[in-house]
């Protein structure tokens, strides 16, 4: 087994062989999920807690289904509603949960690095379900699986990531993963939505969709995160749609067989035209959702194997 991590905190820590192993295992879970029984037992007896300090419907549901299909006992905690409001610190919350002996902790938090901090304080495996604008590793992995299945490979592809890069953890994890797997990554968006010195990450930066989309194999659109904006990053939604929204005209610059991706939830008519999102020949957006469950099953399966091995090792030493 190549996968040696205790936690899944980010793509940054992963080796390409570890990424490949997760994706290979996820492929088998795609098959399982399409079968009638849809059930495994590799997480049987383990407790999975989903702690979401930020609203999420899709990611939380995906993790929940993934855990349940593999036999884990899954609990969801909506943290905005609970003790955080009472002034409890993140560490206290973590220690309280830790005392309940969870095995897998799935965490989303509005601040970058918060999940890393939490992982230092607990005994179980922690999965980052998105921290601030830092990383969202399972999203990048599910995107990778979607690309690999659609294109037959995950290397030497031209991939454009378009939109609000600055506020996007999805973009960070994706550009790290796609870079590690030796693809050419282009970032397209207005300069006010680009992180500082992003060009030093081994990516090409474009401010024009025509040039940026030329001959790409994959078009990855990002949500324009209006709730993250202090205001004033772009003049208006309609100007943004005109210049950076994906429509048939702009997509025509990409390769004829280019696929269109979006992490959801979509703002139709802001960053993507509705008919393209629904075009079954181009859009793989529904596949991404399906791959999400499989990838999360694979990630939790691998982490649980390491967790069990570590515990067995600790027992042997005792």
């Amino acid at each position: 087994m190549n996968f040696r991590q205790k936690h899944l905190l980010g793509i940054e820590e992963l080796h390409p062989l570890e990424i490949t192993e997760i994706l290979d295992l996820a492929d088998t879970y795609v098959d399982l999920n399409r079968s009638e029984t849809k059930h495994g037992d590799v997480l049987k007896g383990l407790t999975q807690i989903n702690m979401f300090f930020e609203n999420s419907t899709r990611t939380q549901a995906s993790f929940e289904i993934a855990g349940k299909r593999l036999g884990a006992d899954v609990m969801n905690m909506a943290m905005q509603a609970s003790s955080i409001k009472k002034g409890e610190t993140l560490i206290d919350t973590a220690l309280t949960l830790n005392a309940m002996h969870p095995d897998l902790l799935v965490v989303r938090h509005p601040h970058s690095g918060a999940v890393n901090l939490l992982a230092e304080k607990v005994n179980c495996s922690v999965l980052n379900a998105g921290d601030g604008r830092h990383e969202h590793p399972t999203q990048a992995l599910l995107d990778a699986l979607t690309i690999r299945r659609a294109k037959g490979r995950l290397h030497r592809l031209n991939i454009a990531i378009c939109g609000d890069i600055a506020h996007s953890r999805v973009a960070r994890s994706n550009l790290l993963l796609l870079g590690k797997m030796e693809n050419r990554v282009r970032l397209i968006g207005p300069p006010t939505l680009m992180p500082s010195q992003i060009g030093e990450f081994g990516v090409e930066v474009y401010q024009d969709m025509e040039q940026g989309l030329k001959d790409v194999d994959v078009v990855m659109m990002l949500r324009l995160q209006r709730e993250r904006m202090d205001g004033g990053f772009i003049p208006s939604e309609r100007e943004y749609y005109h210049r950076f929204g994906l429509d048939a005209e702009k997509l025509a610059f990409a390769k004829p067989d280019a696929i269109v991706m979006h992490p959801g939830p979509m703002n139709r008519g802001v960053e993507i035209d509705g008919t393209i999102a629904d075009d079954i020949n181009r859009s793989v957006i529904q596949d991404q959702v399906e791959m999400g469950v499989a990838v999360r099953m694979a990630a939790m399966d691998l982490l649980a194997r390491n967790l069990r091995a570590a515990r067995a090792g600790a027992l042997a030493h005792a």
Partner: protein, 425 residues
């Protein structure tokens, strides 16, 4: 003559710029004479320094002591012990406490507590505006009478240029020194790191180093306009230095400081969101660090200070963006500064010019010198002794040092204030 004779000492004289073996006699709490050759010790108590360094005690400009308000973080007693252990013989304290030190009554409280509880000298600064809110100026005249040594809103910028101009004009009429934190407050609002590759990778909201230059350029224009005495508390970026250079060349009454962390650490030290490295201004790129070291060597930057800012574990054990800023530094200032000496970047007289002589001169204090007649505020230290820093051994109540586990060279052996020993290792 009866007094104390320090023999066989490596005398670090920042005024003369010399580093020579000799002896120093102290009588009546003052330095009586400096002797180059063998000294006649008749009647004196002799302290053999064993060839170790004897330098003027450090004058640390900008120490935060959390009294009143947050004594659990740092008290005058604990800060005083930390200062003595760090070779700091004078602390210039900040007014950014709870509540702010912005009235003569509060300043008197601080002075009283300081003289009761701390073994080193303490001169308090007062706020420049009430509550450090940047709206109304404090009673600068009364506060001067009560002993305020300078006026500063600490890390809070007086954003309203009209208010700041009036503060500078009024302070000028009384000859008061204004200390400011050069920063463009709108650009830096809500940020926790310096923009660049590291902050982009870690997803930390970041501010361009240009915000410091903007702040300093504004302040220099206002100093030119008002003729005020001005000190920039902690510069950290290469981009800000030309403005400082121009102001000094134009003869404005301007000085500038840098804190020890910006001379010894850079943004990459933050690593995996380590909040002990979250300070204000934020850690910069290596190029900026090198520029600051060079500016200290050339004398463009006048003062090195610790910017001692105690924070308890609770305010640091948070996600990076939410964690409090600041680091303790009284006890690590000297060993950290000695990194620059061992790296060949600065000589010992240059270091003590920035840590003792210049702050004393700027504040009108008689200390900071190895000269006959100056108060015998001295630090005896071994510049080569290796230390692996353990934060739990610090005297400060708060242990938030970025140097925990760091290998440092340099150990304070003894500290004297007015000729009396206040610390012995």
């Amino acid at each position: 003559m009866t007094g104390t004779l320090f023999t066989n000492a490596r005398l670090i004289d920042p005024e003369a710029g010399t580093d020579t073996i000799g002896a120093l006699r102290v009588t009546g709490g003052r330095i009586a004479e400096i002797l180059a050759g063998p000294a006649d010790a008749t009647g004196d108590t002799v302290i053999d320094c064993g060839g170790k360094c004897l330098a003027p005690g450090i004058v640390d400009l900008g120490v935060k002591i959390c009294e009143p308000g947050e004594r659990h973080k740092e008290s005058f007693r604990s800060a005083g012990r930390a200062a003595a252990a760090g070779g700091v013989t004078t602390m210039i304290t900040r007014p950014d406490t709870l509540p702010t030190i912005d009235s003569p009554e509060q300043l008197e409280f601080v002075s009283r507590r300081a003289s009761e509880a701390a073994p080193v000298r303490i001169h308090p600064m007062a706020a420049l505006t009430k509550g450090r809110e940047g709206r109304e100026m404090v009673e600068i005249g009364f506060l001067l009478d009560a002993g305020a040594i300078a006026f500063t809103d600490a890390d809070s910028v007086v954003a309203d240029t009209k208010v700041f101009t009036r503060c500078l004009t009024y302070a000028r009429s009384l000859g008061a020194l204004v200390i400011a934190h050069p920063q463009e407050p709108i650009l830096s609002k809500g940020t926790a790191a310096t923009s660049g590759k590291f902050a982009s990778l870690k997803g930390i909201p970041a501010v361009s180093p240009m915000a410091e230059r903007l702040g300093l350029e504004r302040d220099m224009a206002l100093v030119e306009m008002t003729g005020a005495r001005y000190h920039a508390d902690a510069l950290s970026t290469a981009a800000a230095l030309p403005a400082l250079e121009r102001a000094k060349a134009a003869g404005l009454d301007v000085t500038a400081g840098v804190d020890i962390h910006h001379l010894t650490l850079n943004v990459l030290d933050i690593g995996d969101y380590r909040t002990f490295f979250k300070i204000k201004p934020p850690l910069r790129d290596e190029d900026d660090r090198l520029a600051m070291v060079e500016a200290v060597a050339s004398g463009l930057i006048d003062i090195i200070s610790s910017m001692h800012t105690p924070q308890d574990e609770e305010s640091k054990r948070l996600p990076f963006e939410e964690a409090a800023s600041g680091a303790v530094g009284l006890e690590t200032l000297l060993p950290a500064a000695l990194r620059l000496y061992h790296a060949g970047a600065l000589t010992l007289p240059q270091l003590f010019r920035a840590m003792a002589l210049n702050p004393a001169k700027r504040l009108g204090l008689p200390t900071g010198r190895l000269a006959a007649g100056a108060p015998a505020d001295l630090v005896l230290f071994d510049p080569d002794a290796p230390v692996v820093l353990d934060r739990w051994t610090l005297n400060s109540k708060s242990k938030n040092t970025p140097f925990d586990g760091a290998r440092l060279q340099g150990k304070v052996l003894k500290t004297y204030v007015g000729g009396s020993e206040v610390y012995a290792a």
